[in-house]
């Protein structure tokens, strides 16, 4: 693990996309992130406190895309932000545990929170995690698929443990974001058929099409 696309993004970055992970506690959000960003899986991972983020740079159509993925506490106890967390997000991963029915039943609530706080054109993918525990499945694939179609979400079942579909799910999300952004940039055909289309949406992509300095000095954030 750790080779290839992992590690720091020292080169030129064309786009930075902020993506948020949401869902009930213990569905595996942080594990999905660790798998994607560092190809790691921890057997005794701790509850997420507050917010955390990791990045990984991907290449889509010869463009360098930096995925900035934010992870937040699913447990109320450790949550610290709500609306600020969604600020500037262009993509979201809505995660449930396919071995726990209630985590799936809470998805509409998460979706509601997402739609209340995030940009309405945000690209959303629904993830049923822990597909390695097929014998304990409590959410049929069909149920989730049906829900995703109804709500206009992408959908995949993943396993952070054995890495099934993790890469695929992030790639799907990033590509979709890239396509809509790119489409918008070219100001081409109006609405695409994609459910989570960003067409016509004004999004903030700092450094789009231009180089971002490797070290950005950051200072005062208060106003």
């Amino acid at each position: 693990a750790g080779g290839g696309g992992y590690g720091g993004a020292s080169g030129k970055v064309d786009y930075v996309f902020k993506v948020v992970l949401i869902g009930d506690s213990a569905v595996g959000k942080s594990q999905l992130l660790a798998r994607f960003a560092r190809d790691e899986f921890s057997m005794d991972s701790k509850a997420t406190i507050g917010v955390e983020f990791q990045t990984r740079t991907l290449s889509i159509e010869q463009k360098s895309i930096k995925a900035q993925i934010w992870d937040t506490a699913g447990q109320e106890r450790y949550r610290a932000v709500t609306s600020a967390y969604y600020r500037g997000a262009v993509g979201a991963m809505l995660v449930y545990d396919m071995t726990k029915r209630e985590t799936f039943e809470h998805i509409p609530r998460w979706l509601e929170e997402l739609r209340a706080h995030a940009d309405k054109n945000i690209v959303i993918i629904l993830i049923g995690n822990k597909s390695d525990l097929e014998d304990q499945r409590a959410v049929p694939t069909e149920d989730a698929k049906e829900f995703a179609e109804k709500e206009g979400l992408f959908f995949l079942e993943t396993s952070a443990l054995n890495a099934t579909n993790v890469e695929n799910s992030f790639n799907t999300l990033m590509t979709q974001i890239y396509n809509t952004v790119n489409k918008k940039n070219l100001a081409s055909e109006g609405d695409s058929n994609n459910p989570g289309s960003l067409a016509g949406k004004k999004i903030l992509i700092p450094g789009s099409g231009q180089e971002i300095p490797a070290k950005t000095s950051t200072c005062c954030t208060s106003s």
Partner: protein
């Protein structure tokens, strides 16, 4: 231009106050930040003198003041960051942070040294103070605080490491302790601070922040591992390793998380505060502990370096969120003192702020109360909406309660906050019915000079309403106002005079003022060169002269020569008031009329009857009539009563701009 100057000076004071309100600088930049803030606070007397001065200033000078303000605002922003920003960032980017602070202070020094002090009407003493500040800024320029190198190196060593917590245990422990990142809420707050930096930068923030996020993650893992080992508490741990997840989710009655309980009372906290050891307690519990003479942190046994209690807002909001999610009534403060819900603020942030201020007023230690009262004072000054909202939030009874604290600054802020609130018509009645008058009178008697002045101004503002005139007079406000009129500063005298004037419009208060000895003071102010109080003194004398006792005392005080002089040379208003006093005096004792005639009253009086104000003309005509009657009345003895005094003209009000 003068108004612009006053408002420029005021805005500078406001910025300093905002800076002074920032507290709890991160430990690593504490000294630099405190020094910077302290120096700026020393500039307040200069701004106050500029604001008070009547000298006009040039546009260029005004511009230098605005430059200073700009420099102060950027200082304020950075200081805020040093108080709320990421702790890890402030250490790891210490060079950048220090140089930014230096840059801020160089800018302050430059803009401060460009002010043409000789053109400003400021006292030598204040000038010297500014010189001192300037030289401190210059001296600080080249001097960089030596920060904690061990902490810096520890953090550096954690960068680019895998998240294998075990290998770095001792380093992580040192770092977590030094940065006060030992508790879940602190860690959550730190993560939010980092998130904020990324979010507000709008995108890519560079690898340094990513490294910091990784370091924070390691600290979190370390702290959580410690927690688990310590208490066998496995909340939220992804449970592949131990079978199914805990049953907490399916339980009907949620268990209150330990972190939400006060370590002393074991109850869920309603007002969690952090002590200097980094631990969080329920405010009332830890206050009792400290008041009991303890100086250690009850949980860790560490010595407390200060008794400051910092509200733990993050935890409070976590508790509230948790209560909401679990359908539990959140803990409420005792109902008698509980501030009412805030409604009139447009933004929830402001409403939250007011609510926090109410909490601090009600439950804070003296330091909290002082700063909260100070902030309310400023907010109430700012605009009418704030005055309504603050009153609605229930501030008035709390402020009234604070009038009797021994702390003179709290008194001062509270009385001034009440003054500013009283500008709103609806608040005037509320303040009086909250029982404020005895407290205000107490401050008027015993407070600091500024507090006394503002107490007098408050009484003036409240006495605009007629029933309040009666209440204020009955509760003993008049004698201390007379004392202030006698011995106060110029400003105090003005405030006392305007208050007395208003109060004495009510007949029942006239005797009180006269018996408190106001008349000798007023006649002294009439004749004292440069007292600057002639207008007020004459206006008050004019209303007191209608009272029999007042008339007698004025008559015996040899005031006639100066009255005649005012009718001759005074301003239109002074001429009419002086004539009004004479009308009353002469109605009792024609001897005064004879004396006045000898002093050359006739010419000026005829002029007043022809060219004065309406009231002046009327008074002059009455006097002339009296004189002619007196002339042909050598044998007769009929004395007519003068027409009853019409409402006298008010002296200039000084209240609206009374606050600092």
């Amino acid at each position: 231009m003068e108004e612009e100057k006053a408002s420029a000076a005021q805005s500078l004071i406001d910025v300093v106050n905002e800076i002074a309100a920032i507290s709890d600088y991160r430990i690593t930049v504490k000294k630099l930040c405190y020094n910077l803030a302290r120096r700026l606070k020393l500039l307040v007397p200069m701004f106050e003198e500029i604001r008070e001065s009547n000298e006009p200033i040039s546009e260029d000078t005004l511009k230098t003041l605005m430059n200073l303000k700009e420099a102060m605002c950027s200082a304020k922003d950075y200081l805020k960051f040093c108080s709320q920003g990421s702790k890890i960032y402030l250490v790891m980017e210490r060079e950048q942070v220090t140089s930014k602070l230096m840059e801020v202070s160089v800018k302050l020094e430059q803009s401060l040294s460009q002010i043409p002090y000789e053109e400003l009407d400021i006292s030598d003493e204040v000038r010297e103070q500014v010189e001192l500040v300037l030289s401190q800024f210059r001296r600080a320029k080249g001097r960089v605080d030596v920060s904690d190198d061990e902490l810096y190196e520890d953090l550096q060593s954690l960068c680019n490491k895998s998240s294998d917590v075990d290998a770095y245990q001792p380093v992580l422990e040192r770092v977590a302790k030094k940065l006060h990142l030992m508790e879940i809420p602190d860690l959550a707050q730190e993560s939010v601070a980092l998130h904020e930096m990324v979010a507000s930068s709008g995108g890519d923030v560079g690898e340094n922040i990513e490294e910091m996020a990784m370091v924070l993650k390691m600290i979190k893992d370390f702290v959580q591992t410690e927690d688990d080992n310590g208490e066998e508490q496995k909340v939220g741990v992804n449970s592949r390793s131990n079978g199914q997840t805990s049953t907490a989710a399916s339980q009907k009655i949620p268990v209150i998380p330990d972190d939400f309980r006060c370590p002393i009372s074991l109850e869920m906290m309603r007002d969690p505060v952090i002590v200097s050891s980094g631990q969080t307690y329920e405010r009332t519990c830890i206050e009792k502990w400290i008041e009991g003479g303890h100086s250690t942190c009850p949980k860790t046994q560490q010595a407390l370096t200060s008794t400051t209690l910092t509200p733990n807002y993050v935890l409070r909001s976590l508790i509230a969120q948790w209560c909401e999610a679990n359908d539990i009534e959140p803990p409420k403060p005792p109902s008698s003192l509980r501030p009412r819900k805030v409604s009139s603020f447009s933004s929830p942030a402001e409403a939250n702020k007011i609510e926090d201020l109410m909490w601090r007023l009600a439950y804070g230690n003296p330091e909290d109360q002082r700063s909260a009262a100070g902030e309310i004072r400023l907010l109430a000054k700012r605009n009418a909406d704030n005055r309504v909202a603050i009153a609605e939030a229930g501030a008035i009874p709390l402020l009234v309660g604070l009038l009797s604290t021994p702390d003179s600054r709290i008194q001062e802020h509270s009385v001034t906050a009440l003054l500013n609130l009283s500008i709103c018509e609806n608040n005037k009645g509320a303040i009086v019915s909250a029982g404020a008058i005895p407290g205000i009178v107490q401050v008027l008697k015993k407070g600091s000079m500024e507090a006394r002045e503002n107490a007098a101004a408050t009484l003036f503002s409240l006495s605009v309403i007629d029933e309040n005139k009666v209440t204020i007079g009955a509760l003993g406000a008049i004698p201390p106002l007379v004392v202030l009129l006698n011995e106060g500063t110029q400003r105090g005298k003005k405030d006392a005079a305007t208050a007395l004037f208003n109060l004495c419009i009510y007949q029942g208060n006239k005797g009180k003022a006269i018996r408190a000895g106001v008349i000798p003071t007023l006649t002294r102010l009439l004749t004292e060169p440069g007292s600057g109080m002639v207008d007020e003194a004459l206006a008050i004398l004019a209303i007191l002269s209608s009272h029999p006792e007042g008339k007698a005392i004025i008559g015996s005080s040899d005031a006639v020569p100066s009255l005649v002089e005012f009718i001759r040379t005074g301003s239109p208003r002074n001429r009419e008031n002086a004539a009004a006093v004479l009308v009353h005096l002469c109605s009792g004792d024609p001897q005064h009329l004879v004396e006045a005639q000898k002093l050359g009253l006739m010419g000026p009086l005829i002029d007043l009857a022809g060219n004065g104000t309406d009231r002046g003309k009327r008074k002059a005509a009455q006097l002339l009539e009296r004189i002619s009657r007196l002339a042909e009345q050598q044998k007769e003895t009929a004395v007519s009563q003068p027409e009853e005094e019409a409402e006298p003209t008010h002296p200039e009000s000084t209240t609206e701009a009374a606050d600092t």
